[in-house]
């Protein structure tokens, strides 16, 4: 596997050769921040295009076709349209909170995005509590959504925000439990370590039954966490116009929109990292020739392939299942997913204690 830390270390050494260490670290932080935001924007554009094409495919349509070959420039045109739209201000609304809310959502999203290990040596935030920090960072987004709903001075927005808050807080529990199941198997929280431990088989295979149950729970809860798919109640158009972002226009709406899509990618990326091995190629113990051949495919290709496979899976959910009612959503979480998750955690502990995993 190619180790990207060779390149990053080289850049670091070049920088400290002509400037003090403090300044070099500062310059690196700024550069990495710009890179992350750039990647964030590019991923959002790819995801929006993918969403349209996948949606069209499931509805036997073609999707955007007019602008550019196969409609590839459509999303750029949409972004440009959004950039030049007026940002309206709402009468009798708390303007400070109204303008702040989208940035809190995007902050939480970028913070959890920068935890994803993309390749060997290409992880930005790699604490020893990595996955725990990721959960913490993504939980801040709820505050942004609640503030957005409240400060819009609109009953639909408020109801949308309350539903969204209740739903996201509930489903965070299931996400935590299914991640905890894998943490029991790995005995580490550091994301790069988690990937390294999957060198002799991905956790989905190593942990067999409980890992698979955790994977399914994670996919359901992850879909609910980003307010999509059959769980998109907060913005159920038929009853709430557009939920918490009804009153937002222009780029402020764009930030919510982008954050939603990249959050979907983050959920998929975490699933790819902890269940499907992240950037680790497919290794089968015993088949050395096959493993070496797989190593020639670079890590980031593996990571993005797995992540986009899960994104595609989640989009498939979204466009095939009918929307649930709010009480059905909460029943599904508290009466089914959480008890199953707890029992599953216990099962995983038993399997790890008696060494029944591969």
């Amino acid at each position: 596997m190619f180790d990207f830390s060779i390149i990053t270390n080289w850049i670091h050494e070049q920088l400290i050769s002509f400037m003090p260490t403090g300044l070099a670290v500062f310059v690196e932080c700024v550069a990495i921040g710009i890179c992350i935001m750039l990647m964030y924007a590019v991923l959002a554009i790819i995801m929006i295009f993918m969403e349209r094409k996948v949606c069209a495919a499931f509805q036997c349509r073609l999707g955007p076709m007019r602008v550019g070959p196969y409609g590839t420039i459509q999303v750029f045109a949409d972004v440009f349209k959004m950039l030049i739209k007026e940002i309206i201000t709402i009468n009798h609304a708390d303007k400070f909170l109204y303008n702040l809310a989208p940035y809190i959502v995007i902050l939480a999203s970028i913070m959890s995005f920068s935890c994803l290990p993309i390749n060997k040596g290409l992880e930005v935030l790699d604490f020893n509590v990595g996955i725990f920090f990721m959960l913490a960072a993504s939980s801040i987004g709820i505050v942004g959504i609640l503030l957005a709903g409240w400060s819009s001075n609109n009953k639909y927005s408020l109801i949308g925000a309350m539903r969204s808050g209740a739903q996201m807080i509930s489903y965070e529990l299931s996400i935590g439990l299914s991640i905890l199941t894998i943490v029991v198997l790995t005995d580490t929280l550091q994301l790069s370590e988690i990937v390294e431990r999957q060198a002799d088989g991905w956790f989905l295979f190593k942990g067999h039954i409980p890992a698979f149950i955790a994977f399914v729970i994670y996919l359901i809860a992850g879909n609910a966490e980003v307010n999509r798919g059959p769980f998109d109640l907060p913005e159920a158009e038929s009853e709430l116009t557009a939920g918490y972002h009804t009153e937002y226009s222009g780029m402020h709406f764009g930030l919510f929109y982008v954050a939603e899509f990249v959050n979907l990618f983050i959920i998929a990326g975490i699933a790819a990292t902890i269940f499907l091995g992240g950037w680790m190629p497919l290794h089968i113990p015993g088949l050395d020739g096959f493993n070496q051949a797989m190593d020639y495919i670079p890590g980031f290709v593996w990571f993005f392939a797995k992540a986009f496979f899960i994104v595609w899976l989640l989009m498939w959910f979204k466009w095939t299942f009918p929307r649930l009612r709010i009480d059905q959503i909460l029943t599904l979480e508290w009466k089914y997913l959480v008890p199953i998750g707890l029992v599953n955690l216990l099962l995983m502990v038993i399997i790890v204690v008696f060494k029944l995993h591969f």
């Binding site: 403090g22 300044l23 670290v25 500062f26 009798h92 609304a93 708390d94 400070f96 909170l97 702040l100 604490f127 020893n128 509590v129 725990f132 920090f133 959960l135 913490a136 960072a137 939980s139 801040i140 709820i142 505050v143 609640l146 503030l147 709903g149 409240w150 400060s151 001075n153 408020l158 925000a161 309350m162 808050g165 807080i169 005995d187 580490t188 929280l189």
Partner: protein
């Protein structure tokens, strides 16, 4: 002036400004938002001290949990135009005096205290060590407080259900 010191000053000024704003604003949801910023700043200081576990806990429990709870209860109880009444002068004076007294006590304690030399110099604290300290029953380990807090939370849940279910 090292980079570490600059970052600390930025965080310190951020925390001070936000905490003053959170008590002086007259709108309750704004106060909650400024409180969120104060908690962010505190988490930032933990991260700067390389104690990423405590920083993440601060973000998850205070920023992501308690503040959401506050915002939720504010959304349920107050309406858009609500503003706090203007404080009376006597109340303002009492508040100011108690703040200054608190500041004086904190300063005295901090300046008089002889701090132990830090024996954990650099790098991150192992999560395994934190876990053993939290769940162990030996000396300097915290299983008893952990369980007591669990019982307290259980009592809170039962009480909440009891109040909510009363018809």
């Amino acid at each position: 002036m090292t980079l570490n010191l600059i970052v600390f000053f930025i965080l310190a000024v951020f925390i001070c400004v936000c905490s003053v704003l959170s008590v002086t604003t007259s709108r309750i949801l704004r106060a909650a938002t400024y409180l969120l910023f104060v908690l962010f700043g505190t988490a930032g200081i933990y991260f700067q001290l390389n104690y990423s576990f405590l920083g993440a806990v601060q973000l998850l429990i205070y920023a992501g949990g308690i503040t959401v709870l506050y915002v939720f209860s504010i959304l349920l109880t107050s309406s858009q135009g609500d503003k706090a009444e203007k404080l009376k002068n006597s109340k303002m004076l009492a508040g100011l005096i108690s703040t200054l007294a608190g500041l004086a006590i904190c300063l005295i304690v901090m300046l008089k205290n002889k701090f132990l030399p830090s024996h954990f110099e650099s790098g991150e604290l192992d999560v395994r060590a934190i876990g053993h300290a939290l769940m162990g029953a030996g000396k300097y380990q915290y299983i008893l407080p952990f369980e007591v807090i669990s019982i307290l939370l259980l009592a809170c849940i039962v009480g909440g259900i009891l109040i909510a279910r009363k018809r």
